[in-house]
Symmetry: C2
Subunit: 566 residues, 2 copies
């Protein structure tokens, strides 16, 4: 369907505007290129945005990351680009300003929480669920694969029993699970259709008896009973008299509409999000193990890079790193598109090299390399900034300051249940000391063989206030970005565990998962405090011990030098 | 009036319970002993609490600080002590549990904000304003004194003109000012009736033309036009058609009740609280100057204490410190009752020595000394922890850790408008590093010749989210408290100013106001990082430079030793 056809429908149905977001029914999850409604309608291919189409105008909302890209991809004679994040409130404030009140939307693509927020705050608006006018769905079958319990640590039955216990405690009959990463974790299943995230895009209903049913389209070859979307609507239609728990932030308004008032539909935070954030011993060991293999791949890359930097481009680095990773056992995919930004490209926070932007590595600047992988036993996410040739004192001072910020978080202890948002400033204040800052959170949660960004934990001022518990994985990634010059970020994954404090059993500390040397050529040791230097040397010693056995003699010599104490 | 008489009135008026709080009409300000309604009714003399009197029972709400004191002062056969802070929500949750719904209260002693909160959250409650049944007011005249502009920095007319401009911008006719510290600051007036706080307990109304009228009782000898409480009610009664700004958090519900619906009564944060938090150049210089005089008094005390500790008690130290302070120019009063807690008394956060608790100073423990003063040019608040004789390694380790926490905040830089609540963790995380914590905020705002605790700024997780601006004064006072053993706190006052960062003009840093050496006998220098050591030595060098000229030869020698570099 085209924008012109949409306008005809708006007119015939007496509607003022249609809202099209980046979402499909798996709210907030990755989508496939062929599912990209915004790209289909206007050419914009970014990973966040929203389009408002009125009868005579159209507006594309994008955040700061995508302003340049949107301007390049979109016909701005037809579509005006609005430089505001595509938050629902921004869209509806805009509609209010424009006097548009009869609003068409797809109730599969808007959460109950957002719908209720709009209904409360924009009382003059009438929202009409018009369903999916674009209908980009394909019927390509998706093979549902079983995740072995030796990776998952708990069987599906064990996990479903925990859910059943919760239902029993809450006097509920069913849990409606609409977050695909929760469903995949609960059922120990995965799929290969998304390029970076091994989740099965399905909903699930779990009964008080621990029986689970999947709902989705084109799901094949799974031993979990699987039904269609229409079956789910039927289930809800006929649920009168039952109590169903659901998470209003991931459940589409469509499902609430389908449920009769006689059903007791109760909002509850998605328990699987909370359970899977606290890694079980098998998952934690998997995360430790896969970080060693990932470290081996990265060390091989860094050694190769030092020997061959001359004449390479960003994309060469991406390709070579991919090759080293595929050689590792249990490699599944990258966990996101590798960011390899040289010089000024490194200052663009969400940069990914393309043939058009691809820079050659040249003497005297920095390569920011942010990448990660999915292995069957875990997920990685690591950023290193690498000196290419001889770099300036300013770069070294900045890098050292980022390192101080990184260590400040990595080295801290805190009482169990401290909200990660409170810890963000420990790293950030190190940058503030020199008048610097970074416009992103210090860290995010990471799944084990799932989303590389997961909640509820977060080390970010704007993040959730959920308290940190043992065995949670978070990233630690302060940075500094100097426009048109260079970018620096140092990112390790950390996990929480009981602090080594006999008198304070409730305190936690971090252990570093990532095993890759930090470029010592970029460190001004005179700017480090003794405690920071000790942290760095101990970290490098551990990296050498864990990684060296898997390297060639040449690579071992490189690593020994890279990890020698400062 | 007695509890028995109150019960008779409740019965005759068909009411279930009366709420009596610690407040008079100056909500949240200090009160005089003779105004202490709780003490009058049940003997409890603490500075925070609330009493609920039903027809057959009575409950006293006190927070953790006052549990022991309440048990000692109150007849627990008649009054049950409830160990919950006396927050309005706690009181009304309790009333709800008890099924009490016809509630008598004094609308002069409850803010509009609290009244609205109750009305919204406790819809089953019916609140009846019964006025002040206790009537403890006296007619002792209060001399209203004028604060010279050479201390205040701005004349009353200048300040009123700022208010008038704001009224004009907001299309309002009047500002109703109900916070006594705001009124005193705006009018450049003070009084001597409260023991520690030189404020005039009055309300004020400022007109669009910058004319100010005081409202209060027994106010004498001021050149500001002064009227009675009844005049204020008359003014509000006849204000129909006018627009009046007021702060719902400091304005009693009584005044809202007195205002006809035809008056446009608009909630606005008290502008004077915001203005006076950012010290003007004269106030800031006054704060700097009075901290030198206060430092001289404290250095004399510390020198004397080192020479005479043998045989002294906590109260001897309080008396001697008072004497040294009274010898300083422009001394007005202490700014709060001096806390001198030796050994286990130091572990009680709000301890004040009395003849009953007074401990002798003995070899091998710590004296926690938290005190402050009002001078005509400013206000001080300082805590030092002093080694008496030879102390344990644990005490030295703990003291050093508190010092690290203190320095972490004092030494930080941050973007202007960063909320102080975000900075709290910088100090606290230093204590966390060893599994320690403190159950109070890291810092609070301090007025210039006013309340020793002022808002809106605060370095506290539970504090206001108001951003820090230049020339604000805050305390920095981490601590550690080991029950039945000892307490440690190190407190300096700091003020904010532009950071010494040419490339980051929006960043702030702190400058230390307090000029008193930190006890080096309690520092394990091997636990300090180089940057911390440099901070300490530079601080001591500055203390010596500023204080030494005002000391005797003997005292100078003591100070030189106390301030020599580590």
């Amino acid at each position: 369907m085209t924008i012109t056809e949409i306008r005809q429908r708006l007119a015939s149905q007496h509607l003022d505007a249609l809202i099209v977001t980046h979402n499909n029914r798996f709210l907030g999850q990755d989508i496939l290129p062929q599912e990209h409604k915004l790209q289909h309608l206007c050419g914009f291919s970014g990973s966040a945005g929203a389009l408002i189409i009125s009868r005579d105008k159209a507006w594309l909302f994008v955040d700061g990351r995508y302003e340049l890209q949107a301007a390049a991809e979109v016909d701005t004679a037809q579509i005006e680009i609005i430089h505001e994040p595509p938050y629902t409130n921004n869209l509806f404030n805009f509609l209010r300003e424009k006097g548009l009140t009869e609003i068409a939307f797809d109730a599969w693509c808007l959460s109950v929480a957002e719908f209720e927020n709009i209904s409360r705050r924009y009382k003059e608006m009438r929202l009409t669920d018009v369903g999916d006018w674009l209908n980009l769905d394909t019927d390509t079958p998706v093979a549902v694969l079983s995740r072995d319990v030796r990776y998952a640590g708990q069987s599906r039955e064990q996990k479903c029993q925990i859910v059943a216990n919760m239902l029993w405690e809450k006097h509920a009959d069913y849990l409606l699970l609409t977050a695909a990463d929760s469903v995949s974790w609960l059922c120990n299943i995965y799929a290969r259709d998304l390029p970076y995230t091994p989740i099965v895009r399905a909903y699930a209903v779990i009964s008080l008896h621990g029986e689970v049913t999947l709902y989705g389209s084109n799901l094949q070859s799974t031993d979990v009973p699987t039904k269609s979307w229409d079956d789910l609507l039927d289930f809800l239609h006929t649920s009168a008299g039952h109590t169903i728990l659901y998470d209003a932030h991931t459940t589409p308004q469509c499902l609430k509409q389908a449920t009769p008032p006689e059903t007791d539909l109760i909002k509850t935070p998605d328990i699987c999000q909370l359970l899977k954030a606290e890694k079980n011993p098998t998952e934690l060991q998997g995360m430790i193990n896969c970080h060693i293999r990932d470290g081996v791949a990265l060390c091989k890359l860094l050694c190769w890079l030092e020997q061959h930097a001359q004449g390479l481009t960003e994309l060469d680095v991406v390709t070579k790193l991919h090759q080293f990773r595929t050689e590792q056992a249990d490699f599944f995919s990258e966990s996101f598109a590798t960011i390899a930004g040289f010089g000024s490209n490194g200052a663009i926070v969400h940069y990914q090299p393309t043939p058009q932007t691809n820079k050659p590595l040249a003497d005297g600047n920095l390569l920011l390399l942010d990448s990660g992988a999915q292995y069957l036993d875990g997920t990685t996410d690591v950023t290193r900034t690498i000196s290419i040739g001889t770099v300036s004192d300013e770069m070294i001072t900045d890098f050292t300051q980022v390192l101080k910020a990184h260590i400040a978080l990595a080295h801290t202890r805190f009482p169990q249940n401290t909200a990660g948002m409170k810890l963000d400033v420990l790293a950030r204040a190190q940058m503030w000391q020199r008048g610097l800052d970074y416009k992103h959170g210090t860290g995010h949660g990471v799944a084990c063989f799932g989303n590389v960004h997961e909640g509820p934990q977060s080390i970010s001022v704007g993040g959730s206030p959920y308290g940190l518990k043992p065995n949670m994985v978070v990233s630690d990634e302060p940075g500094v970005y100097k426009e048109n010059a260079y970018g620096i970020r140092i990112e390790n994954l950390l996990y929480t565990r009981a602090a080594d404090l006999p008198d304070a059993p409730d305190f936690l500390e971090f252990t570093v998962l990532t095993k890759v040397p930090i470029d010592k050529r970029l460190i001004n040791v005179y700017l480090l405090e003794q405690g920071e230097l000790e942290w760095l040397n101990a970290y490098h010693q551990q990296v050498y011990k864990d990684i060296a056995p898997y390297l060639s003699g040449d690579e071992q010599r490189w690593l020994q030098k890279a990890c020698s104490p400062l």
